[in-house]
Amino acid sequence: MGLGWRLKNKRWKMKGISFTFEAAIASILLLSVIIFFFKPLQSSQASEVNHKVAAYNGLKILDETGGLRENALENNATAIKNDLSAYISYLSYDVAIFNKTSNLTAIPSISSNDVISVSYFLAGDIGNYSAKEVRVFLWGFD
């Protein structure tokens, strides 16, 4: 074993380490790009629609499981708001009830400029026709 062989061997080892290091950097770079660009996309508009869907589905479930019609007929927006907390507690929201021409409960005073609403319509209950709109106001999505 001469000095030349040892130097050659050392150079090969250095090259190997350098290859591995560069391959690792390349892999990390590729993985980062893939993870960053292929994660689920979100936009504020999409999340607003999602919130509307969540509120609407909450109202629908309350209607199917009972309580919504009775509370709407009694103009009890507070009870509807409390019942909705099981579905949209993570949002800022309030409820108002309307008839054909005007509001029957107070329209919430909301300071945010970014307010959306979703409505559910009711024709009363058995033996008690009464046209009502239950409107849920949603805000504070930042």
């Binding site: 950097i25 390349a26 629609v49 609407y56 319509f121 026709y129 046209a131």
Partner: protein, 205 residues
């Protein structure tokens, strides 16, 4: 100098740049498609809500048989106004018939909310009645029927403008009045049409 190692990095940069370019190209349509799909689903749910409640407006009124048609008309007007607020066009044709078992009279009301006047016709197989109904108007008429055992079934043919024809089946009862509601409900947006035709029968106690 041997640059084989840097080839990994160069290749990685090229692939990363391709991924970024590709993703930027398809990014906005993907979000927009997702939003559109959510909005269409919500719109579909809302129209189903209205359709169900228009039918309920008759069902919930059967305790006051003389108010059934009035309440359906009332709720249809409410729906039209609210649908407009949600950028939906509402079209509605309704025929409500009350078969009175003691007088053997079939009282029929037809509501036109098709956004145009119509030349309406009602045919019970022996008698044809016609009338023009203005938009957002109601036409009341009646037919007599002969009671019997078994109680008769009346087929009422509903038509307008010679282009529309639907049969409404009314199974009368000897011991109670029967109300039959025929609902033809349409909601239209710039991109979709939701239509539901149904017939509901209610025994009046």
């Amino acid at each position: 100098m041997n640059r084989k190692g840097q080839m990994f990095l160069i290749a990685a940069f090229i692939i990363a740049a391709s991924i970024v370019s590709l993703r930027l190209l398809i990014r906005m349509p993907t979000i927009q498609e997702e939003i559109n799909l959510l909005e269409i689903n919500l719109e579909h749910d809302m129209t189903n809500n209205w359709i169900q409640e228009i039918e309920n407006s008759a069902k919930f009124s059967i305790n006051e048989k003389t108010s059934i048609t009035t309440n359906v008309f009332d709720f249809a007007n409410f729906t039209e106004r609210k649908a407009y607020e949600h950028s939906l066009e509402f079209k509605f044709l309704f025929v409500g018939s009350l078969a009175n078992h003691s007088s053997n009279i079939l009282n029929v009301s037809m509501i036109n909310m098709l956004n145009k006047p119509i030349n309406a016709s009602l045919n019970n197989g022996t008698v044809i009645r016609v009338s023009e109904i203005v938009d957002n108007g109601k036409w009341d008429t009646n037919f007599s029927f002969t009671s019997g055992n078994p109680s008769p079934t009346i087929t009422l043919t509903v038509g307008y403008n010679s282009t529309y024809s639907e049969n409404v089946t009314i199974k009368t009862k000897n011991n109670k009045d029967v109300y039959v509601g025929f609902f033809d409900i349409t909601f239209e947006t710039s991109t979709a049409v939701y239509r539901n035709k149904t017939q509901e029968t209610y025994d009046i106690h």
